[in-house]
Symmetry: C2
Subunit: 194 residues, 2 copies
DNA sequence: TCATTAAACGGAGGATATCTCCGTTTAATA
DNA sequence: TATTAAACGGAGATATCCTCCGTTTAATGA
């Protein structure tokens, strides 16, 4: 027998595949934000500069695409937490991350409710992401407590709850502004007494 | 001028219109349950035995139809509360209603998340229904307290929370059974000490 | 009971969206 | 550079949405 199947296990994945995947997710994020969760998939493909076939190969269903957008957002949030930790003071890092979290909630609203409607098991879909976010803020807060910038008795979940709460009320269209002001208040209120 | 517009304000609405409306809601309820919130509207019309035009005249959008299904369910729940009050002992009435509430949650899950995804303002969409349900259980519990069947310090909302909680966990497909067993436990636990 | 009429009906069909199929292109490999 | 398997694109088959308008029918009053 000669070479047969060179080494079918070991061929690098094509670079364009991954790129296209990312372009599609980016276009989808925009489209969902602008047109809601029912945005045309063909349009998203067009916007991303790929054929419909490519979109459907990567994401066989709308649900898959929504999940991908969602998980990408969560991943970015976690990555940003790490980056802020590495480059900013503990307090500034926490503040910066909380501001980012506000944007994230805005993005999430539409995606999350669409996913709840479509997903086989919404619970399972979100579990991993909850954990990731939780871990990120926990780490940011711990760091700020260790340097004495933040009160020892601060429970990180209180911060998340406050932000999510504001977003949930979201009665006026300027809730994002209000949420950002809240971040300052929370940061101030969370600092050590001295 | 002669008769002109007989009395354009005072002509009875046609009986078939209301009937068709109800047939459509019934068919939609089934379809959403079986095929999810994206069930084909043309199919629903067919199933209800009406033309597509009729469906769209009654419910110009999917959202309108979902709302109608939802509100109908809530209304039935409230009506049943009244009926149980009139025909059963306070304790049996409360038990019967809680069992019905379990079925309602099952129905609601898919509708509610679809509505959250579609509705202009989900909050507003649900507010009235919350109030209606709240009022119903409050009345059932008060009645049972007055006859001494239920402990005076029982807060009705605890019962709702417990049931909704079970439904939200809903990890296994037999959660409805589990919820029904819970009803018995709750009823027993809520009775007066003597 | 019957003529009148406005309301309601039905469903064909145009517009739009979904999703597949397959011939073509291209990145990896030797 | 030749080979090849993976990835691509987009035409078009299928499905769904939704409107338009000719037809039917329930209410009314003579």
């Amino acid at each position: 027998m000669e070479k047969k199947q060179s080494q079918s296990v070991g061929r690098k994945p094509r670079a364009d595949a991954q790129q296209n995947r990312e372009k599609i997710i980016e276009a989808a994020k925009e489209a969902f934000r602008k047109s809601g969760a029912n945005a045309s998939l063909d349009d998203i493909a067009k916007q991303a500069g790929v054929g419909a076939g490519t979109l459907y190969r990567h994401f066989p269903s709308r649900e898959e695409l929504l999940k991908a957008v969602y998980h990408t957002a969560v991943q970015k949030l976690a990555d940003a937490g790490q980056k802020f930790s590495d480059t900013l003071s503990p307090l500034d890092a926490l503040r910066a991350w909380m501001l980012l979290f506000v944007d994230y909630i805005a993005e999430k609203q539409i995606i999350a409710s669409a996913l709840s409607a479509l997903a086989e098991d919404p619970k399972k879909t979100f579990e991993a992401s909850y954990a990731q976010i939780w871990e990120t803020i926990r780490s940011l807060v711990r760091r700020a407590i260790e340097t004495g910038d933040i009160r020892e008795d601060l429970d990180p979940i209180d911060l998340l709850r406050a932000l999510i709460g504001v977003a949930s009320i979201s009665t006026s269209p300027d809730w994002q502004e209000s949420a950002k002001r809240l971040v300052d208040i929370l940061i101030t209120g969370s600092q050590s007494d001295k």
